[in-house]
Symmetry: C2
Subunit: 237 residues, 2 copies
DNA sequence: CTCTGTCTGTGCGTTGACGCACATAACGAA
DNA sequence: TTCGTTATGTGCGTCAACGCACAGACAGAG
């Protein structure tokens, strides 16, 4: 179920908000509003992408799924960016799965139209490339964080990354799903979440997380979060 | 100490070998041949890049250095690619260090000339973007591998990645340096390397590694290696 | 209200990697 | 050759995370 997007909706996505007025006017008729439920798979590993997605309130997680079924998140996309960079990078597909981590609204556009607009080489083109570089930093830092930091730190990082992309302080997400994203045990998340709850940073009831004390979370996170945050601001702010 | 590059040298780099003849003729006068010693830092985290590098026999490692001094590799670049994608992506810099992992030759070109050629939007432009996507896959898979796989598997992956980019079967690299790249303990590499040596896959004497049995190494590696390899072939092959 | 499925909490043995301390081994300069 | 430096091997104790098993706790369907 899709409907055409208004300008008000479109500029809730930071990338679309950053393009020039005439470019946005050209894009708007091609942008369809779409409501995404939690868990929906936007595209599957190796599958040719036929749309690009600009989330406004939804959050999309980029995952790699191992042959044995275990998984790990490599990046997360919200109203700060777009899903489907392979379309304009030239590969048309990636060996990853994109799945809705937090239900909400996204704008979608046909791949061919995306390519056409990208080829014009305007500010939209530059913005897409700068966003891609920011995403590379996020993925790089995920690699570093996976190597060197504890589950506790990574949960803080994950919560902050989500909170940044969320219109509210509430996050609907079971511990089991978070564990799949981070590529750790569900029990590991239980322990880490309990510690955060005891510290008063979050409340957590059956898949309903509320961020109570953001500065608290920030005190528990590793430097990886700030590195990525700073780089996003520098490249896109 | 640099000298102008010949066409024969240039096409040892796969990216340069892939551009059209007229584009290569335009690039050649701007490409300087440069010999890089082991350990040399090509650029430092946050430093504005003023050159792009196309290795032919050298291998460059992309590292993130933590505030406490520990480090982890996020990607590796050899004759398959280029160092300095931030120049055309628009960020001009990244929060990483690029360091010579294996001494050898590289071609370098001024950042401004690189931007000019990229803006022309020919096959070179497309090739750079496709390479960037391949690099994203490599970084992503590093993140996954860091999360889910053992030091043994990662050492195999690292050796194979290096071997792919090397003109010989010999690799000059101490266990201490490998440990810094992988972000693990030196002793962990000692153990893993001993196992590989016992299996007859490599010989290892004081920083001088020889790959003896590549299929053997491939039998010990996780799927991450093949995923990246396949993606490079698909995007650039 | 009960039943059923889902989500969270907890315990326990195992393991892979860490940190530290030192022993051995090779190379290179004097 | 000798000596200092660098590289590798090895043995601990420690710890974070794992795998498994199971106990509560809650929500929604009927």
């Amino acid at each position: 179920m899709t409907t055409p997007a208004t300008k008000e909706e479109a500029i809730k996505n930071h990338l679309l908000a950053g393009v020039k007025a005439d470019e946005l006017d050209r894009l708007l008729p091609n942008l369809q509003l779409l409501s995404l439920p939690l868990g929906q798979v936007i595209y599957e590993s190796g599958e040719k992408m036929d749309h690009v997605y600009f989330p406004t309130t939804a959050i999309i997680s980029l995952l790699y799924i191992m042959e044995n079924g275990s998984s790990a998140e490599i990046g997360v996309v919200g109203n700060d960016g777009m899903v489907g960079i392979a379309i304009f990078m030239g590969g048309d597909t990636t060996p990853n799965r994109a799945v809705v981590q937090s239900a909400g609204i996204t704008l979608k556009m046909k791949a061919a139209l995306m390519k056409d607009e990208f080829t014009l080489g305007g500010r939209f083109h530059n913005l897409c490339l700068r966003y891609t570089q920011a995403l590379i930093t996020q993925i790089s830092q995920t690699a570093v964080c996976n190597r060197l930091h504890s589950v506790d730190q990574q949960l803080c990082r994950w919560l902050l990354l989500s909170h940044d992309r969320l219109p509210t302080d509430r996050l609907i997400m079971t511990q089991d799903l978070i564990a799949n994203m981070l590529g750790v045990r569900r029990e590991g998340i239980t322990h880490a979440a309990k510690r955060l709850q005891k510290a008063g940073y979050i409340s957590y009831v059956r898949g309903d997380i509320t961020i109570l004390d953001r500065p608290g979370l920030e005190s528990g996170v590793c430097e990886c979060y700030q590195v990525v945050r700073t780089e996003y601001d520098r490249l896109l702010g």
